[in-house]
Assembly symmetry: C2
Homo-oligomer: 305 residues x 2
């Protein structure tokens, strides 16, 4: 799966759009229409999320290789939200996009296998195959060690999928544990070592189906991790709303100009609420998102050149 | 919420039954009935899970204070599975059980808040309140630090709920990161320090709504962590099928005889498949589960006396 992502990045941009809807992002018109149809209910909120996402996806699908729906935003709405997540993944697939499910799952043994089957794999009943949420990649938490990761790798190898393992996250408190010095090195480097090792179990072209998450907000650590994991694709959150800039991204890439994909969520999907794209207004929220992607692409290209 | 759990433990036993159904656990009769009604589909598998769970819950609800559905098993079935998870939580609540959602979620800021609202809290639309999955406790992964935990604590304080933070997990590879020596102490102790600190933000009687997960398979570490986090309720997985014995559990409890709750999943729900309870057979799977709970209770009581 990672080779397909790299191919698509070459044709478009190393950008993934985070589909993390919140009620406050949804333009009035979409929300009112949903409330009219379903009442003021979670069903309405979920329908509004899906409608909102469709607008974004239609506007950006020729510019980017992938989207990253953040499942928490959908889980907040309970079952109707899960349906909207499913519908969103399905819609993005039909639009030819690669889907990175930002699910941050992680457990052990048969439990991790169940997550892997539900998000990336399939179950077989009788002579039929059924796919649960059917993303292409999932983000995975490494705290439980190899027992949590290997069941995902098995599914990746069987169904041609991939994962991104949290290594150094973009948030301010990520250092509380991730930066602790363990046997002379920061914990995130030890996790990086393991990601490289796990990665060897699922090579696909020049890169591994086992990727890593490293926040744009920590460019110096990104530089070290880039060297530590040369065949690992790095998913980089934290650009834009969280403070990461184009110039911070340079060292996340390999010399082939590949090896990293930069995420922006609210900076794109809620662009119309930012001062810079205010003139678009709520009705043209999708056009604002497209403009924000184009600006982000230019920012990254200028930093890399 | 933790004070309610302690009250219930005093009246019953420090045992939580893991509702982690797998297709191979479901007796033929239940599965065939579901396939007849829904065809060989995920809907049928999900209906069979729920039917199976109801039998277990009816058989054990007077013996234990709580159940712990493992959401991964349901996610494996996609949307119909999520519905079975929801229905299971709802059924357990009506039976007066406390529900520990074993969801191992963890993200940052507004994303962690979204998980917390979906699993423990609520959303407000118009003048109405809607609850997503409405468990009483959720398990949470600490790898992202305080940014990931505090949004859960806010919801715990507002809606009287609780969390169990992964500290030292029961699996063989848990030591890969959790046991690394960081600044002279194992990482799981540093996480334990934080759990104690976070716990002070949500005290409820003698214990905190912020609990910890420590595996029965590491009794010596449990002893250290018990002392490090005196006001923390420890959720202890790994008893039974994973190898933990009653005698391993002693040091997880405080001197008040409280402060720990021991989980068993397949050792109870699939007891009829074990040599010891074979005579029950598939049709009496729920009776086998009841007997397994009674035996577990006796094992723990004898170890503690």
């Amino acid at each position: 799966m990672i080779s397909l992502l790299m191919e698509k990045i070459k044709k478009t941009a190393p950008i993934v759009v985070g589909l993390d809807p919140q009620l406050s992002f949804i333009p009035k018109g979409i929300l009112e229409k949903a409330f009219k149809e379903y009442g003021e209910t979670p069903e309405a909120a979920a329908a509004a999320f899906f409608e909102f996402n469709k607008g974004i996806v239609d506007a950006v699908c020729d510019l980017v290789p992938a989207v990253k729906p953040q499942i928490a935003m959908y889980e907040a709405l309970g079952l109707p939200g899960m349906k909207a997540f499913y519908d969103t993944v399905d819609y993005c697939r039909k639009k030819g996009l690669i889907i990175i499910g930002d699910v941050k799952r992680g457990d052990i043994g048969s439990t991790s296998a169940a997550y892997a089957e539900g998000h990336l794999g399939h179950i077989t009943l009788g002579d039929k195959v059924f796919r649960g949420f059917d993303e292409d990649f999932a983000t995975v938490n490494p705290y439980l060690g190899s027992d949590g990761i290997k069941p995902f790798i098995d599914v990746c190898n069987r169904d041609d999928k991939g994962i991104f393992v949290l290594v150094k996250t973009s948030n301010p408190s990520s250092g509380e544990f991730q930066d602790r010095t363990c046997d002379g090195r920061p914990l995130y480097e030890l996790v990086g070592d393991k990601v490289r090792e796990w990665g060897e179990l699922s090579m696909d072209g020049d890169y591994s189906n086992v990727g890593a998450v490293v926040g744009a907000t920590y460019p110096e650590m990104g530089k070290v991790l880039r060297k530590l994991m040369p065949k690992t694709c790095i998913l980089v959150p934290g650009y834009g709303a969280q403070g990461g800039k184009g110039s911070d991204l340079v060292h996340f890439f390999n010399e082939d100009g590949l090896g990293a994909i930069i995420n922006s969520s609210r900076g794109i999907i809620a662009a119309y609420k930012n001062e810079a794209y205010k003139e678009f207004g709520g009705e043209a929220y999708a056009d604002a998102a497209r403009k924000a992607v184009l600006d982000m692409k230019a920012d990254i290209e200028s930093a890399l050149s």
